[in-house]
């Protein structure tokens, strides 16, 4: 099952029809650019919107989510909108996450800005889908990155942690497995995501309205919201780094490898540690992905045979085997 197929196809078409490469010697004329703009305008309509694709619906159903979910508006977490334009403060736990696509500026060297815009938008839309699929809430879009909250008043903390890990794992999967090789085939090396996630407990998080009048947003003040982007910047290629509070919720050491350097020193003898999260193992263990003969992940939500499979595509693997029987 290719959950992100529609997003990938749009990126593929945008790249394949970009006029930059074929006109490198003489440069791009305005008519060429205009034609490209028109093409991209039509192509944008192929991105999944509120209506989910068949694969996305199947995946949502498999995860126990409604097939038609409402995308939440940005900027105000729905459980704390009452704080808007007030002086009120509420303490409530939340998981803060940051994820973005690294080396994406290289795209501008190879494509028109229109193509880059559509690539970026496809990745952002796929990410928003993955966040909403897992019950998260996109707080802010920053170029090719997202700031996300998981949790709220009607969800258990452990469930929210699991959701956050699943969501960020799926986004990491999309860029690493669906896009990275494609970009490399088209001369763009080393595109990858980096992500950071941390949990602030209720005594560690203030929800409040930051700003003046309409020029503001309901947001959090927490060491752990502030640490999440630092963790993101420490993540290795395609990696997710999480804070200690996340690891203690899940209590499964096999997914977390403590990094040698702490992410925060309280300067009273205590230190707060960060961990590399093994998201690929987590996806497989949670039945969200399976692995092929080479160990490469493929997202899937059920173990039923794919109705569109074709024996031609199985032949290269199956033909390595030639069985024999010698038992009595």
């Amino acid at each position: 099952m290719n959950l992100f197929e529609d997003y990938k196809n749009v990126i593929k078409k945008a790249v394949e029809n970009d006029p930059t490469k074929s006109n490198k010697i003489y440069g791009l004329s305005e008519p060429m650019l205009e034609s490209n703009r028109e093409y991209l305008k039509l192509l944008r309509n192929e991105l999944p919107g509120r209506e989910l694709s068949r694969e996305m619906k199947l995946f949502a159903k498999g995860m126990g989510v409604k097939e038609t979910f409402d995308y939440q508006p940005l900027g105000s977490h729905p459980d704390f909108t009452y704080l808007k334009a007030t002086d009120l403060v509420e303490e409530h736990w939340i998981i803060s996450g940051f994820i973005d696509v690294k080396k994406s500026t290289k795209l501008f060297n190879n494509f028109t800005k229109g193509t880059v815009r559509l690539i970026t938008e496809s990745i952002i839309r796929a990410s928003i889908f993955a966040v909403n699929l897992c019950g998260g809430y996109v707080h802010r879009i920053q170029g090719d990155g997202l700031m996300v909250y998981f949790g709220g008043k009607n969800i258990e903390k452990l469930k929210a942690v699991e959701d956050a890990l699943k969501s960020f794992s799926m986004i990491s999967y999309f860029v690493k497995n669906d896009l990275k090789d494609f970009f490399e085939d088209n001369g763009i090396q080393d595109i990858h995501t980096r992500a950071g996630l941390d949990l602030g407990h209720s005594k560690q998080v203030d929800w409040f309205y930051s700003g003046i009048g309409e020029s503001g947003e309901v947001t959090t003040c927490s060491l752990h919201t502030s640490l999440a982007p630092k963790m993101q910047s420490n993540a290795k290629n395609s990696g997710i780094v999480v804070g200690h509070n996340v690891t203690t919720q899940l209590r499964k050491d096999k997914y977390f490898e403590q990094r040698s350097k702490e992410i925060h020193d309280y300067e009273d003898g205590r230190k707060y540690y960060q961990y590399n999260f093994d998201w690929e193992r987590y996806l497989v263990d949670n039945n969200l992905a399976v692995q092929n003969d080479m160990g490469v992940l493929v997202l899937t939500i059920n173990t039923l045979p794919d109705p569109n499979r074709n024996s031609r595509d199985l032949y290269p693997i199956a033909s390595k085997s030639k069985p024999y029987f010698n038992y009595d």
Binding site: M1, V290, Q291, R309, P316, K322, N326
Partner: protein, 224 residues
């Protein structure tokens, strides 16, 4: 390749294939891995899953062939599917496995190129009615088929002569007429086959020689 690399190879495998884990072995002296194989084709389409148990001889590794047992009973315990009643999978003809064993295996490579394709091939047969690369016939006929395909030999006398030469270490001058098949130069026909046979190990060659001699005798009796 040293004999101390089993743990390294298994750790490396388990760090890449997440649906497998080490479990207590039901067979003393063997390391056991239990896990799930998901058969995916080149387009990433899922065909099915099998629970399997893999047993690896700790002392012999890497000069060993892992035992693979299908636990889900998805594959019918029928010899047409090359599986024993207990679910032990007949992965390949013994000669090919012995060649691997004598060279020494790396478990991950063995998983990718022998174990995984066996299960992929099951689905291929389910879908098309036949195995992707054919199959060996059962028992002796399969051995004869192997000699025919691998060495282009059908004549029982030629096979026996070849086996006797290989087992006995008989040396012939390279430029003489081939004493095994009668072609002009020994070095250009059967010498390569004699050397190649040695790769399967003396034990298997002796078993084969007995089998082929028995077949020759049977045929002579029939012909009277």
């Amino acid at each position: 390749m040293t004999k101390t690399n089993l743990n390294y190879d298994i750790d490396s495998f388990l760090s890449k294939y997440y649906s497998f884990k080490e479990v207590d072995s039901p067979k003393p002296g063997y390391l056991a891995l239990k896990g799930k194989i998901s058969v995916l084709d080149k387009k990433g389409k899922l065909w099915g899953q099998f629970e399997i148990l893999i047993l690896i001889n700790k002392i012999e590794y890497p000069y060993t062939i892992p035992i693979v047992i299908e636990k889900t009973q998805i594959i019918d315990r029928d010899w047409d599917f090359h599986i024993s009643k207990e679910g032990v999978c007949c992965l390949d003809i013994p000669h090919q496995l012995l060649k691997r064993k004598r060279r020494g295996i790396t478990f991950e490579e063995f998983y990718r190129n022998v174990i995984y394709p066996f299960f992929a091939n099951y689905h291929y047969k389910e879908s098309t009615g036949e195995y992707a690369n054919g199959e060996y016939k059962h028992h002796f006929e399969g051995i004869a088929q192997f000699y025919q395909e691998e060495f282009d030999l059908e004549n029982l006398e030629d096979i026996v002569a070849l086996l006797e030469t290989s087992i006995g270490g008989i040396k012939h001058q390279p430029n003489i007429e081939c004493p095994l098949c009668g072609k002009p130069k020994y070095k250009k026909c059967c010498r390569k086959k004699v050397y190649s046979l040695k790769g399967y190990g003396m034990q298997q060659l002796k078993i084969d020689l007995v089998l082929f001699r028995q077949q020759l005798l049977k045929r002579k009796k029939v012909l009277g």
